[in-house]
Subunit: 432 residues, 2 copies
């Protein structure tokens, strides 16, 4: 049996978890799958700190060439994270015709096109199950399980930090700031939480998923991104009263003419499964012609779920290595498919939840609805509450489908009315 040699770059939390799993499962892989793995080198800047796993000291190195250049090594596992030097490490491994496993969502979102093209040119593969949805085999499902399907829509709760914060606000009735502090205390949010709460991390992940589903380049800058920083407790409460929860959704849709890819807080009917995804859990809802609706749920991050995904990629690649492609086989037909334009946020159509802070005067609603009407936005329902503070009353409106462009124009006009006190809030509503 040919031994398949692995080299790891990045011996942090995930790396340590992966080494633990490998040590435990190597006999099983040999016995059940006929795959013999050997971890041959581990590279990290820090080779002094003791990790919670026993390893042969000789394999630990600060010299990355012992991983990416060693001709013995078949698969390089990149768990460094970030753009640089992770990108250079991966490209060098590919140059040396090594397969790569990575959990690096930021890098794949930014430079995926370049990396995948180069890998194809070199005749090797880049696997990335751990980059989205932690231990949930989402990538595998989209690539293999649903291979017969044209994926039409995906809706993901793919950032555990944001989902934890929104769940806490909803369950405990606390403000955003309090929930964020709690998430930080528990280690669910970073000290500098921008990447998560501003929606960037979700955007990275939906870029990766969209590329996989729609087989075309998805430039990050074409993804509309809105985070959860401005979600207030009162919006969560009004939404609840209307039968909705608020979730940070990453959305990717294929229409007949274009693609829509966006990340923003979204009202979802409470009886939808995605509404019931609580705390740090992740879920991906998929809509496709043959399978109809499907949902995948699980832990989207953490040491062992992520290690689980990394190891499943290693096994996939090991099976490929044991089965070398016969030269003539599997030549892809080079047909260039017309790429679909990615729709700007201006052109999407959505229902909206809008909250106005109105001075408690008669005819406010008449003025507001006149402006909405002018832009072709029709009202589905209204909640107008009694006086709250200093003559200001909240007015909550749910609209029918409207164009985002029109909604923005209407809102800026409404916000200029003297009877409107604060900037109005608008949150998109999805019928998933």
């Amino acid at each position: 049996m040919r031994v398949i040699n692995l080299g790891l770059i990045g011996f942090g939390t995930i790396g340590t978890g992966m080494v633990k799993v490998l040590k435990e499962r190597i006999p099983f892989f040999e016995r059940e799958l006929g795959i013999k793995l050997s971890l041959t080198a581990i590279c990290d800047k820090d080779i002094l700190t003791r990790r919670k796993v026993e390893i042969d000291k000789d394999i630990l190195t600060q010299d990355v060439s012992r991983v990416v250049d060693d001709p013995q090594i078949d698969i390089v596992i990149e768990l460094v994270g970030g753009l640089h030097p992770a990108k250079e490490f991966i490209l060098r491994a590919l140059k040396n015709k090594k397969h790569v496993v990575t959990a690096n969502k930021a890098l794949l979102a930014e430079c995926g096109e370049e990396i995948f093209k180069y890998a194809e040119q070199q005749g090797v593969d880049v696997y990335f199950e751990a980059s989205v949805g932690g231990g949930i085999p989402i990538i595998e499902a989209l690539r293999e399980g649903f291979v017969a399907n044209k994926i039409e829509k995906i809706y993901g709760i793919i950032n555990g930090t944001c989902n934890y914060i929104l769940t806490q606000m909803s369950d405990k009735g606390c403000a955003f700031r309090v929930a964020l502090k709690d998430a930080q205390d528990r280690g669910y949010a970073e000290k500098n939480p921008g990447l998560d709460i501003n929606g960037i991390d979700s955007a990275h992940k939906i870029a990766i998923l969209s590329r996989l589903c729609f087989k075309q380049k998805i430039p990050l800058e074409k993804i509309f991104i809105e985070g959860i920083r401005n979600i207030s407790l009162s919006d969560i409460r009004y939404a609840d009263e209307l039968g909705y929860s608020i979730k940070l959704l990453a959305i990717a849709k294929r229409t007949s003419s274009n693609l829509q890819i966006r990340v923003h807080p979204t009202l979802l009917p409470k009886d939808h499964l995605l509404s019931n995804v609580q705390g740090v859990f992740n879920a991906l809802f998929v809509n496709a012609a043959l399978i109809g609706q499907a949902l995948f749920f699980g832990q989207g991050a953490g040491q062992m779920p992520t290690a689980s995904a990394v190891v499943s990629d290693i096994i996939f690649l090991a099976e490929k290595i044991q089965r070398p492609l016969v030269a003539d086989n599997a030549k892809k037909t080079k047909i260039k498919i017309k790429e679909k334009p990615i729709c700007t946020i201006d052109d999407i159509e959505s229902r909206y939840y809008i909250r106005f802070s109105a001075l408690d005067k008669p005819a406010v609603l008449a003025k507001v609805s006149a402006i909405l009407g002018k832009y072709g936005i029709s009202i589905f329902s209204v909640i107008q509450k009694g006086r709250r503070q200093a003559h200001i009353v909240p007015v909550v409106i749910m609209t029918h489908e409207a164009k985002e462009k029109n909604m923005r124009k209407a809102l800026s006009e409404i916000d200029m009315l003297t009877v409107i006190k604060n900037k109005s809030v608008a949150i998109r509503v999805e019928r998933v």
Copy 2:
């Protein structure tokens, strides 16, 4: 590029769906995956009925040997269903070293051991994604995505007919018989619905999943099976009042000493995701050391979801065929692992929902609880309602964990009390 030839046996609903999908996706598979498929023969008893898909008449035959014996054919797709002659067809295909794709859950549950062993001996594979959970890639996830995990527990809603009936009873407040009739009218239940509502179909599927998770033989007769025929509307209502829904669950657990594999109606907390799986949908909840909790949800049956699963298996096998195993590679180490005994239902521990029909006399509860106490069963909560009909009152008790054996003894003693009118009802409660 080597063309991979497919032969289909069984040109019914699923078969027709599969042919449709293939016709549509063949160019995509060639372009994106470098896989060239050709459907070379279709065998069915009925070659006259027109199906809703265009095919070359020459490939349609009543002669099964044109599929299973033709040396050109690489993969045989068995969609005949039932034990015989499906089993003989599959064995003959394997004998001729053809890979097999099947959706035949009954056959795999009954004869899986024999079929898989023979396939291994012949150096070919049997794939069966469509046998459980329709279009949801459950088998793939358990086999590949979770390969690094020891699966501890799986809980499945894997029979859409039963889930539809229970959902209807709960939502519409109708009796079992009415809901069954409705399911039959909609084509969700067969005229002779025994296989579904008696839990046999779920047992077939959990046998397949357990074998995959626990890597050992799972004889069908060791699976405890209880269907939904005796679930009454009043139990659904009491369960609801207590915060539970009633679902037909297929359960497989690995403990340190044994395996528990069973199918029965189960009380599940209403806030659990499985409780929110409605209608004909299926879901599988998985618990494993690394990934923690995961859930897969989707359409568990139907023409196109099932065809989707069949085609994904074909692609998996086609990729393997293009990558012939080098002789020396992937020899499995032959270590015989000790199989775990499968626990009988007597020895499981569970919480229970129990409903007694008591004569409206004082001291009924005292008598009942004395018997429960004698068998070491302690009470968690009680609902006792006012008089309903002719001096009979329902008494509903939720217990703490108790051994099934003790519960049965207690119930038979309780049912002999003169103050108890009808046979008592007991439903297991799971903390999933």
